[in-house]
Symmetry: C2
Subunit: 196 residues, 2 copies
Amino acid sequence: MFDTLHTFLSSRIVLTDALWEQIMTQFSPRLLRRGQFLLRAGEVCTSVAFVSRGCLRLFSTDPKGDEHNLQFAIDNWWISDRDSFISGRPSRYSIEALEDSELLLADRESARNLRALSGDLEREGVRMINRARAALERRVEWMLSMSGEERYLQMVDRYPDIVQRVSQRHIASYLGITPESLSRIRRSLAGRGHRP
Amino acid sequence: MFDTLHTFLSSRIVLTDALWEQIMTQFSPRLLRRGQFLLRAGEVCTSVAFVSRGCLRLFSTDPKGDEHNLQFAIDNWWISDRDSFISGRPSRYSIEALEDSELLLADRESARNLRALSGDLEREGVRMINRARAALERRVEWMLSMSGEERYLQMVDRYPDIVQRVSQRHIASYLGITPESLSRIRRSLAGRGHRP
DNA sequence: CGTTTGCTTGAATTCTGTCAAAGCAGGTGG
DNA sequence: CCACCTGCTTTGACAGAATTCAAGCAAACG
């Protein structure tokens, strides 16, 4: 369960055995069954989670009760409501496991300890935030400039593994269209000779 | 021209005269007339800009030639294509002055120097990235869950000064709707007794 | 084996974009 | 000072796209 995190980190920073020993102590393993929640809207997000195996979604629930997927996380991704995690304020989001999942959790103090452990680790943290920001920026750009069909093709291109694992209604919610529309888009694409 | 930056910084970090002296040396002033560009798509973004006075927009141009506003920046805001700035790769975005503007520019080396100058300053840099990320996240949430009218009301509520200063077609582009739609939305709101 | 869940499909509706035209500034030059 | 030009906003008519509502179907699950 810690193996995947070790592999993940060693591809980005210089990871000595001594450093790894210390890093491990800061994470606590957690199993989540499909349908269980890591975070519910209104609670404070007290951890960042590394997904060593499984699939989760982060979503908001609007006043009408409709849910909107803001992020998916599969093996080797991180997931958390960073705003709530940093500020300590209640979260507007929920995090739910879409498959049975193995997580490694770090709370606020662990995160602080990790940053203090090595400059490499701290810089990697900043890079992670920047990647998250860049991904959101791209997504806003897509929403502004592309049709639902184009956004779907972008998503298949960029996140094929997620499109494969996650149900269509969740993909539709992520794209900002209805499941019916996504179904029609896929039929239309198939008719024009697109790989399923 | 440096006054606004001094005010800005002193409200967020402990700003001694000595530190301020050093900070000033890292920024170079730049005047931009309305319509001039700080960055053109395809160029590398070599600076982050603090807007001491004026108004700018960051936008992308899609294959059809349509422009999409991703960000506005007025007095006391920062603007830049951080991806290009960090990676050194050509930018997909352009930055244009919507009014005559006074900027303070820091290039890559200056940014590095600034981070090295004080831990406070470095932490403030991370906070800035996080605020940018949080703003984008909110915006994605809006795009997923709200109609054009609701997004417009959110924008009026959250960025009244920008809505006031920027032309409607640019607001419309930011919201992801056509200028015609925004015009109709405003008429409809006025009819239902909304402050102009 | 019956129930549930998710996907598909159809028809009606609502909304938004498109195109074209006219009105309304603000700025420029005669 | 006025006439003109240019860019922005408004408006109307229309076409097109996506949502909604409703129903059917298939695979998965207890």
